[in-house]
Amino acid sequence: MAVTAIPVVRPRKAVAGGGALARRRRRTFWPFLLPALVIYLAFFIGPALASLWISFHKWDGVGEMEPRGLQNYEILFSDDTFLAAFGNTLLILVVVGAATFAVSFGLTMVLRDMRGKRFVRAVLFFPYIISPLVLSVLWGFLFRTPEGLVNSAWAALTGGTGVNWLGDHLFGVIMIGLIWVNTGFYTTVIMAGVDRIPPDLYEDCALAGATAWQRFRHVTLPLSWDVVATAAVIWTISSLKIFEFIYAFGGNTNDMPTVTVWNSALFVYGATFGGRTPQYQFGYASASAVVTLAVITVLVVLLRRLLRREAVAF
């Protein structure tokens, strides 16, 4: 505090080179950084590098590793099961992501002027806190045919039998479920950004006779852009890791879900520990994890570039 209160403006060079605060900062740099760095290296970077190493081998997790060079990757790119699973990962990333953000923005616009918005926001956030396992059970009760809640309601209203949700549209129902689970979180994040926008801008809009779309397009979106950009990156990374909801909803006590709804996370599990008789192909599964990680990294970098805007000061 004392240092910042000094009114004398020092030359830039002197501040960068010495100064009591800078020296103290330098001294505390490593002690503060080290614990986090060690944990990060041990639990994230280390295993990631180990996966890369294992991906060049054939390994059942018990015997010796057998070097395989790039063979795992060659097989991977012609493995229809992996390509389909990876396609599902991308579908979740794009379709579920777009829908989640659209719904979240919609809810934000509605909630902004609503009385009791804190309560509603808490209710919306609720699915995000509950275990995906519990939600998948609930989701099963809703969509099973013929006795599920959705089809019972449909039958009561129209007399028809309704859609065979789980039998014919399992992946679609999984995507709807994921949108529902995630909407609460992204609504909360986006609302936090939107709440910072000064209300007088909206009053201006009202005076100028702007429509809801124009308000969104010219005020809300540009002024909450940095929050949206960050949320988009968070979604990209977390969508890659989605596992429990699909596993619990599509599968049962003993079996993996049907292979047509696997995403790349389930593929890794299926190639290692999943199923009644596990495959224990750790080398191959590591290769698939490395490929997924690489693609997602590229996507995140692209997304960051694409969403980069001059910050609007307000």
């Binding site: 059942d60 493995d79 099963g140 199923g275």
Partner: protein
């Protein structure tokens, strides 16, 4: 202040290291088996009836032999805990599980102990050898290169279940051929009942039908040969096509109870237990699993799936010993000890399952199964596909078969999809 600030992180670090070391030491102490003792990791949870039977046998064994047994009730994931230990670390002396997961782990990695010695040992106090107590009918598949890797204590049979109180006619003259069987289904349908209960969200249960029908038409072991073909085209024969068409017709004829496609397990098997459908194709856990929801007066009866070359698919649960076990001698003694009638018999009377000893009485609801296993040839569940080719059923057979059984694909479509997926599977499992 400055001094304290500089030392306290060190103290903190020292405290952390000390406590971490303490934890490690404690962990090692808990995991090691004391000299002469026996470590047993079980597939059961303590509350299950099998665990109670085993725990009583452990206590009796300790009292008689003085060997201390430390049991950990690990549950079904037990082998997922054994596998990492195989590379280094404390392996248990004794493990039990179903034959398939054991085959995929200990046998696959050649980390099992040859159990020939156990089979040649005497069951204490019976003047009989273990090999004379356990029917050798079950042992054919439980060997690798002639070396037995499992001593079974529970046998699971697979086939049709029905309520003999409601279907006395079927119990009196069970159908022997597929034609007899489908005639029975047609009659039931025409009388307004649902002939078959199937929870179609479980691909394993869907595969029972197709593979069961194929086994009974081609003979045991033949389906496994078809699955071995790297091109996936070996399936395309007139014989196989005829069976596939008959399986597809089950749903086309409307023989499955409502909910088979689109509901969630156990909805349909509960309907069956309530008497809303006639037959259920399942393993011998069917009576105990549906018992709580069953209508009063139900009388469970077993019927092997009909067909020209009828067999009973059977799987075994039993003991195995890792090669690196510290005290394999004590483990072998315990296995032989458990084969005593007073212990093994309780697998039937209390855990309500079939034992591999044909001389022991079967629980009443499994009497039909006991008779069938004695009279008919034995085959493997899903003809061994799941056991011998890990991942094959999940990635190849189930996705194609689900559509066929639910009547959503034709025989041609099934064969095309299966061939494509099978070729893909063998490409990566060369």
């Amino acid at each position: 202040m400055a001094l304290r600030a500089s030392t306290s992180p060190r103290r903190l670090l020292a405290a952390l290291v000390t406590s971490a070391l303490a934890l490690t030491v404690a962990g090692c102490g808990g995991g090691s088996s004391g000299g002469g003792g026996l470590t047993y990791w079980s597939m059961w949870k303590e509350s299950e009836p099998q665990a109670k039977v085993l725990a009583d046998a452990v206590r009796a064994f300790e009292a008689e032999t003085g060997v201390k047994v430390s049991v950990q009730w690990q549950g079904r994931e037990v082998l997922k805990k054994v596998t990492p230990a195989l590379r280094g670390g404390d392996v248990p002396d004794l493990v039990d599980q179903e034959e398939n997961p054991i085959r995929a782990t200990l046998v696959q990695a050649d980390a099992f102990r040859d159990l020939s010695g156990v089979f040649a040992a005497e069951v204490p106090g019976s003047a009989k050898l273990v090999s004379q107590v356990v029917s050798d009918k079950y042992l054919g598949t439980l060997k690798k290169d002639g070396k037995p890797f499992l001593v079974p204590y529970e046998v699971i049979g697979h086939g049709l279940w029905f309520d003999s109180a409601a279907h006395a006619g079927v119990a009196a003259s069970p159908p022997k051929t597929w034609q007899d069987f489908t005639a029975l289904l047609a009659k039931s349908k025409s009388e307004g009942r649902s002939p078959i209960a199937l929870d179609g969200d479980i691909p394993y249960y869907n595969a029972y039908w197709t593979i069961g029908a194929l086994q009974n038409a081609l003979g045991p072991g033949r389906v496994s040969e078809l699955a071995k073909d790297p091109t996936g085209k070996a399936w395309d024969t007139p014989e196989v096509r005829a069976v596939l068409a008959s399986v597809r017709d089950l749903s086309r004829q409307g023989y499955f109870a409502p909910g088979f496609d689109g509901s969630k397990w156990p909805a349909v098997q509960e309907k069956w237990a309530q008497g809303q459908a006639d037959f259920l194709l399942m393993g011998s856990w069917a009576p105990s699993e549906t018992g709580a929801k069953a209508k009063s007066g139900i009388s469970y009866q077993f019927l092997p799936l009909p067909g020209a070359r009828q067999s009973v698919p059977v799987g075994s649960l039993g003991f195995t010993i890792p090669k690196r076990a510290k005290n394999p001698g004590a483990a072998e003694r315990f296995i032989a000890y458990f084969m005593k009638d007073q212990h093994l018999g309780r697998i039937a009377t209390e855990a309500k399952n079939l034992t591999p000893n044909p001389a022991l009485p079967a629980p009443p609801e499994l009497a039909g199964l006991a008779k069938a296993t004695a009279e008919l040839p034995i085959s493997r569940p899903l003809d061994g596909l799941e056991a011998d080719y890990p991942g094959y059923v999940d990635e190849v057979f189930y996705p194609a078969n689900d559509l066929l059984v639910k009547g959503k694909s034709e025989v041609d479509g099934f064969l095309a999809q299966l061939a494509e997926r099978q070729a893909n599977y063998w490409k990566k499992h060369r």
